[in-house]
Amino acid sequence: MMLARRLLTGNGAAAWAARLAQVDYIPAFPITPQTEIIETLSRWIDNGEIPGKLVTLESEHSMITAAGAAAATGVRVFTATSSQGLLYGMEMLYTVAGWRVPFVLINVSRALASPVTLEPDHNDVLAARDSGFLQIHCATCQEVLDITLMAYRLSEDARVRLPAIVNEDGFYLSFTREPVYIPDADEVKDFIGEFDSENMQFRASAPTSQAVAVLGGSPYSYFRYESHLAAENARIVFDEICDEFEQRFGRKYGALESYHVDDADYVIFMVGCFATKAKAAVDSLRKAGWKIGLLRPRLLRPFPGEKISQLLAGKKGVAVIDQNLSMGKGGILHCELASVLYGNKDAPPVLMSFIGGLGGRDISQEEFFEIAKQLKQASETNEIPAPRLLYTVDELRQIHKLQAIAHVERAILNRDHQNPDSHE
């Protein structure tokens, strides 16, 4: 086996995954921070390095429609978007998931408007949580490549047949170069196999109607629940694929990354690449004698609830760091976790919620230490503090400065309007 290891951005790794998966069709639309993926693929196609057809649609709504329609006709499809693009296409995410068409969509997470920004958090991809797409979160560039390859297997598996979103964090992963092993093309071909459209295709000799309407709640409920059961199947199928991937390529994945969780009293629970910062904090805290670990789901849909319950059984406390915010409720992962832990007799008595990293705002090591401290304190006092936003006094001071400037500028503007000749 020849192992090529090179420095790739998360976006580069995503493009490599599409290349190795030998995708036939790439409907595209540019959006920061995703654009590098489609530019890379486009360049390879234009240079004749890879086969396949890339078509730029006029919107993500059309892009996802074309992706679903092509998959429904019987080819392997790859597509990618971010943020506003994912939301613009949201109607079609739900729609094509219901078509039961397998394909992979990379979402490069970026926070949502308003206010508009470019930097990441997870509100975009979590808005697709209930769409019927499978959803897998990455934390490193290597994972982006490997998980995308596995996502094809998962999505195309006869027991699943649902499209999948693979999420990588914008900027922190998309534009960060890391050493990435690029697997051998033939071995990947062997691993993923030829695209099997099963009975989903359009052919002159076999007329078919796809995505037809239903009348009434009974057939609707039936088909919706079928999709749910298919997504549930994906949990076991993902484990099988991870095992096979490890045998073939030597890298071990699973529905969860469990880092020093087994003997831990306290656990940090979060998704995405900021979890690598949490790992560093766990290392420091471990050196200082803390029994603390990190649990990071890769798989969010289907949610690996049972495994999470088992891994967290008997822990003293869990702190969920949500890089998202559901206004009027709080962290989305916190809710997801609470729903699987509730009622388990070994469930950790302390479940704390932190909101952090919104719009690319960093999470510092000191903040992880503070979270650990509060977790311990809550466990000892049995008083669970209210959910809180990771935000420093200094940040607040900076915001107040900006507000002061805005007020002054507004006052000057108002004065000029009232007295146009007052310019110096």
């Binding site: 036939d24 078509v55 059309s62 429609t65 679903g68 092509a70 000799s205």
Partner: protein, 304 residues
């Protein structure tokens, strides 16, 4: 037009390909046109549908189509056609399927999608020179939801969202010109009430490549307010009064295929439909009728 198979009425197919028993309203002018269109396009087609009345043609587990069907959403049927066309081309190129398995991608939408929400997707499909046929059944309003006005609604028409004494204050969008301005392969207006003209245009469109467009005015008994048996007559009046010009765009030129020798007054057309009843009762709104007539006259003044 010399090479057409359809020289006279008796050349038209005598049996229809489209199945019966669909949930469309009695007297549906859209279904009438689709019946005729389908006979010519045939079953080696995949109809890619946007939300509208015709979405109810295929309700699980039934379909009147002998060929294929894909429902998408309201705004993106042309993008669905893009995906299907590209996938078929890829499969042909890779020799995964032979030519005999190939299909024509046919987009089927109402005016709500064609004139409004789906216009951006359509425009872009023409930019990409997508090889497909687009059929818009135009019943001049959001018919499936109870005939609210759309940008295809004619000036003065009463709809469920323009129920005042002046009817719809806007003007019917000139979709034919908008599509033609993109310089696609073919654009034509048709109507079910003129089946020979319709058949010739569909026949022509089917023989061409690239983006091809058909708008069929679809008299709508429930939306326009007339007895279902009058669909044919109202369709003919739409043409004879000059309200619905039958024309085609090809090779950069617009040709009128059926110019009424003596144009009937628009009043004869308007008076047949409840949506224009307020122009005549309680008293005659001569100003508005004249305004409508004036616009039709102005159009035909510019037709050489």
């Amino acid at each position: 037009m010399n090479d057409t198979h359809f020289k006279r009425m008796k050349d038209l197919p005598s049996t229809h390909l489209l199945g019966t028993g669909t949930p469309m309203c009695a007297g549906c002018g859209g279904l009438q046109a689709i019946n005729d269109i389908y006979d010519i396009l045939g079953e080696k087609t995949v109809f890619i549908n946007a939300a509208g009345c015709m979405t109810l043609l295929s309700v699980y587990p039934f379909t009147p189509f002998r060929g294929s069907w894909l429902y998408t959403a309201m705004a993106s049927a042309p993008a669905g056609a893009q995906g299907v066309r590209d996938a078929l081309d890829i499969l042909l190129e890779k020799k995964k399927i032979g030519q005999e398995e190939n299909l024509t991608a046919v987009v089927l939408t109402g005016d709500g999608s064609a004139y409004g929400m789906g216009l951006s997707a359509t425009s872009a499909a023409i930019d990409r020179n997508l090889d497909f046929i687009y059929i818009c059944y135009d019943n001049e309003g959001y018919g499936n939801t109870g005939q609210q006005y759309s940008s295809a609604t004619p000036h003065g028409a009463r709809t469920s969202t323009s129920s005042g004494s002046m009817g719809y204050p806007g003007f019917k969008k000139d979709l034919f010109s908008i599509w033609a301005a993109h310089k696609p392969t073919y654009v034509a207006t048709v109507i079910g009430a003129e089946p020979l003209d319709l058949a010739r245009k569909i026949e022509k469109a089917a023989q061409l490549k690239g983006p091809r467009f058909i708008i069929t005015l679809s008299p709508c008994p429930t939306g326009w307010g007339f007895d279902p048996q009058e669909t044919m007559q109202i369709g003919k009046l739409a043409v004879k009064s000059g309200v619905w010009p039958l024309k085609e765009y090809i090779d950069g030129k617009i040709i009128h295929t059926k110019v009424p020798k003596i144009r009937m007054s628009v009043e004869d057309y308007l008076a047949t439909q409840f949506r224009f009843a307020h122009l005549f009762k309680p008293e005659r709104n001569t100003r508005l009728i004249d305004e409508i007539q004036g616009r039709v006259d102005e159009y035909w003044d510019h037709v050489s």
